[in-house]
Symmetry: C2
Subunit: 350 residues, 2 copies
């Protein structure tokens, strides 16, 4: 018996370290807190479901905002901490901690609001979004609110100095043989690393936009986009940087957005980079074309396979008004600019 | 054969990630580089041994400074990278990479200088100092130089917010039950974590000072000190913070010191904290007494067992002139101050 206790203990210690990391991420905590506290009128006397409650911090925010009942569903042993935290914050009666996968839960009622911090690296990795969708379809009242309400995944071509240029001059020593050795491995899996905003080579393109009130699990099986980015400066194209943002509902004030963009204060999600096997010099105006595929792994539906296919930018379709420096786009742009100017002159002549 | 290649590859990938971490630590790299470049006259035409050369960066610094021969001894597979790095920097002839434990090496000559980056967490953890000592005794000429030449381990009582106060208010939520759970584990092993300078409660005391020209392995078997620190501010005594500094020889300019003090820019060593099982309020002037023991593990001589024993400050010996607020020390201090003032007055009267 004592030995089992110890084993359980160590299991939950690993969990604890991860929860510590998340709880120390105050950008994350405060986005939820602000979104909930800015909308106290929505929570007052209402019933809330917290999917994957962890240590219960979001459940406490909801209770503090005036929720009548919060169902805090947590499948791991961390539910014990959520119970203690609920009591410690005098919400032992409001917060009902349920030790279960949300898929197996039965609740005595439907809920007005679902809150969940389900986002993984590059939004979908190890994500619990499937569970949130299942919970929504089963437990959310018609017209109920989702916190967050929408999520967007972004991608931008970038340079990756830690895998490339860093090794060209390590305090005066050339180590270019090391880069390829690192890349041989990192090209096989995404790298979770901070990307400096200066490393981004283009404006962000959307990979995915999810309306969390409506998205279905099937929509998450395979995400496939073709991007034509245009470099907004000279640089080295060495990877695709991914990040996400989530937006919370609000009827009264500016909706809160939790963003993991390189420009924003660093969160525990950092950014995710798909490192390319080779470096390519680009100029301001260079078109960069690639297909990005995120597909559930056959072995584990909670994991994704990410594939980047580099395309010849001259062989893919460009937008009608394209800022790239390919001759065709320059010509079309000139014509369109002239037309627009003409229109304006016409308008002015009237 | 191909499978073996793959296995080796993965082994060295783990190593690579660690070397990346170290090479990204430019405070570390530049301390060695500056120490070596400031003393080029010592390196010019000389023979150097680099103990645990890793990727070979220090060997290249020595070659750049004009060394005739650098023996770069590396026991792990990383020696292959050191070979490539030597060639890439045009020192393939100067740097002789030797794939071996330094204890098993035979060199054709004695060396003028030993360089080594052997320091582990809290100086001694997983340290290779034993190897450096063995190499020194076997290969260093009489009067030869050690880079670094001395090392000091420091200790100071500190507060540990990540294990204590953080949990009292996580963005408005009380989680005091989590702290003890984390501490139950962290009290069993030192924590490698950045300590904010504000968390230090007293001036640093020396645990250990090593003259690397003379230290013996036996001196490293057991380090035992009794510290009486005096709190220089009000705070919570929750741990002992350990860090180290190393000093390099110099005959001409100010010697270079590589310091991992909380006040200095963060290195990959961060600081090491021994977390105490409970928090104790101290006032400015409170005496804090403890015994600190670092003892080689019986199972693995490269690892240390660290023991902190908290002592009753009224039962240990205080320095003659002690700044603590115990009545006896206040009285003695008053008398000594008076005497000193008297002496000065006498001196002035003369």
């Amino acid at each position: 018996m004592e030995e089992m206790e110890t084993n359980n203990y160590f299991e939950s210690y690993e969990d604890l370290e991860i929860h510590k990391l998340m709880l120390e991420d105050s950008a994350r905590n405060l986005a939820y807190k602000d979104a909930i506290f800015n909308n106290k009128q929505e929570f007052l006397g209402k019933t809330v479901l917290d999917v994957g409650a962890g240590t219960g911090i979001l459940s406490v925010f909801c209770a503090q905002a005036g929720a009548k009942t919060v169902y805090a569903v947590e499948a791991s042993d961390t539910y014990k901490i959520a119970e203690e935290v609920a009591k410690e914050n005098k919400f032992g009666d409001v917060i009902k901690v349920i030790h279960s996968k949300v898929e197996n839960v039965t609740l005595p009622e439907k809920v007005d609001i679902i809150v969940s911090e389900w986002m993984g690296f590059y939004l979908l990795h190890e994500g619990m979004l499937d569970s949130v969708i299942a919970a929504r379809d089963k437990f959310l009242k018609v017209g109920g609110l989702m916190f967050p309400e929408s999520a967007t995944l972004f991608a931008t071509p970038c340079s990756v100095p830690s895998m490339y240029s860093f090794w060209e001059d390590v305090n005066g020593v050339s180590m270019t043989h090391v880069g390829p050795k690192l890349r041989a491995k990192t090209c096989q899996k995404p790298v979770c690393e901070r990307t400096h905003p200066d490393c981004l080579l283009s404006d962000a393109d959307n990979v995915l936009w999810l309306d969390l009130r409506e998205v279905t699990m099937e929509e998450l099986n395979k995400i496939e986009v073709r991007h034509l980015a245009v470099a907004n400066k000279k640089g080295r194209y060495e990877g695709i940087c991914l990040w996400f943002s989530c937006t919370f509902p609000s009827t009264t004030v500016e909706p809160v957005t939790l963003s993991t963009e390189p420009d924003e204060p660093l969160t525990h999600w950092k950014q995710t980079t798909i490192v390319l096997p080779s470096s390519l010099e680009v100029e301001e105006g260079s078109p960069i074309a690639y297909d990005l595929l995120l597909k559930r792994s056959d072995e584990n539906a909670r994991r994704y396979i990410i594939e980047v296919t580099m395309l010849d930018p001259s062989e893919v379709e460009h937008p009608e008004y394209c800022l790239c420096h390919l001759t065709k786009c320059i010509l079309v742009r000139a014509v369109l600019d002239k037309y627009e100017k003409g229109d304006m002159e016409c308008a002015e002549n009237k």
